[in-house]
Amino acid sequence: MTGLEIGIISVGAIIVLVYSGLHIAIALSLVSFLSVLYQSGSTSLAINLLTLAATDGIANQTFAVIPLFVMMGLLMNATGVGRDAFDVGDFVLHRLRGGLGLATVASNAVFAAVTGVSIASAAVFTRVAVPEMLRLGYSPRFAVGTVAGSSVLGMLIPPSVLLIVYAIITDQSIGRMFFAGIGPGIILSTVYCLGILAMAYFIPSMVFDPTRKFADEAAMGADRFEGVTWGQIALKLLPIGFLIFVVLGGIYGGVFTPTEAGAVGALFATLYAVLRGKLTLALFVQTLRETGYITAAVCFLIIAATMYSRSLAFAGVPSEIGRFAQTLTQNYLVILFIFVLIVLVLGTIIDAISIMLIVVPLFLPIMLQFGVDPIWFGIITTIAVEVGLLTPPLGMACFVIKSSLTNKEITLEDVFIGALPFAAMMLFVIGLLVRWPHLIYIDQWFG
């Protein structure tokens, strides 16, 4: 059997097992085990593949910051910092149709400036934005879909763990990668907003729930912002503004690195919670434990994805894909198209960081032959990889949203379906950046 055949069969097995309901990490480990056992005929080798990935798959600093970013997100949720940012967006945008959707996107874009992982954004805004949208008659799918789609901004707008990983594996400057994330982050947010407006005005059934099942009719009729002044709203921007100042100021002022920002952000979020009198010892312990649970669920998946990507490497799949792509054509747009396609397919079952580790070293040399800017390629890759956060069966952002939802009538399928238009808009943005590559540099937007 060729590597490619092993790859295809194992993908099929994983999809069947995952959809039958086997835990995703178990499905990935089990298939990796069987694949290596089949190829090598050695049980001990297959066992060791799993054990080694379990111990070294996440043992580096890039992953060590995940719990700290998650903790910062939980604390910002507990202290209402995320909620305040959302309220500001709501106040400013509530006269537009689909205004809450716009507010979710806008506040997520701001929140992205302090978080390095999308799962933190997804967890916070599920608690903040979804109940409010349901109360005001938005469709549940739109509500969770908007949160899923805009959580992607967390890893496109710096600081971002994904941009750091790309910079590391390609020897690019992390600073420049970060800078190149700002423009596309703004473009994606804008496209989301235009898409939401288009849906709200032209296909309202996609945005609003005609049955108003979860709606609070009284709230819908009333002017929610009666008596609210701009001054009060401005005050709500202070806490998030302060955190952005601490995080960005710290990074660009030479106090700490973007990876360390998670720890400093979590510390300041803790201090803020204490000052606001919102943090009891019990709540603090619960936050730590919740952080541990989310970290364990996410990192165990990353470990299993590492096992699987190593079993693919063992079968020689990455180099076969690379050779295949190279021989296929000499047209760079076609190769880019194939690249994005491969990333999207892998994105259905492998986690974002592993995909980067697998495909970037294969394709970057090919891309460089065409004189492509590696930073631009990194941004394209990042967005394409992030689409995978939204696609079934393995869609991390959707999982986090599902597990953070308090309304249990909304299913995982609802989240995936709701996120679909946003995944489509991400592809549209990739198209824009391919057509006008200089768009990634915000300083080149206006001449």
Binding site: V18, Y19, S20, G21, L22, H23, A25, I26, S29, L30, F33, I47, L50, T51, L52, T55, I58, A59, Q61, F63, A64, V65, I66, P67, L68, L74, N77, A78, R127, G254, V255, F256, E260, A263, V264, A266, V285, Q286, T287, L288, R289, E290, G292, Y293, T295, A296, A297, C299, F300, L301, P392, F399, K402, S403, S404, T406, K408, T411, L412, E413
Partner: protein
Amino acid sequence: MTRTHDSGQQPKATVEQGNLLDNQMPEFPILTPLARLYGFAGAAVVLGLLIIVNVDVFGRFLFNRPLAGTLELSEMGIVAIVFLQLAGTIGARRLTRSDGFLGFVERRRSVLALYMRAIFNILGAVTLLVVAYGQFPRLITSYVRGYYKGNVGIFTAPTWPLDAIVLTGVVLGAVMFVALAGVNVKKIINEKRRIAE
């Protein structure tokens, strides 16, 4: 209908509402208290990570005194957190899965769905035991040979405690899977008895 947990009860994992994670874990004798203990240890490592990174950052910036070993300890800490929390994550049914199809089967043939759940839990146990089997000799070697992370003269930390956490963490996780499978089997027996009556 999809849920991210096995039984009909709802996970309430919101921090602001008070964390009811522990109540989601079925009360198995010895096992559940042990998983809870590991969970607290995992939470302590999260706190430790928060503290050492900040001490390093501010020590370096304010006093030119970075904390030696921060890099090594964070790399070890993240692994420790995952394996200390694993059994609890499994017990609280928060290990990620897509159970749309299971729910569908459940509504038509509840016994079949229970069989599936039992098999999946056993598969989980087997997988974790495979990891444990490979990890056992690694623990012995790292203990006997005194493996460490870091550099002599600057900072060193022995790796065997971490290897022990990984080993006991996956074993505890496997036992938790078996216990959950036991619950499934018990339900199957009750269900069959009910149908027979």
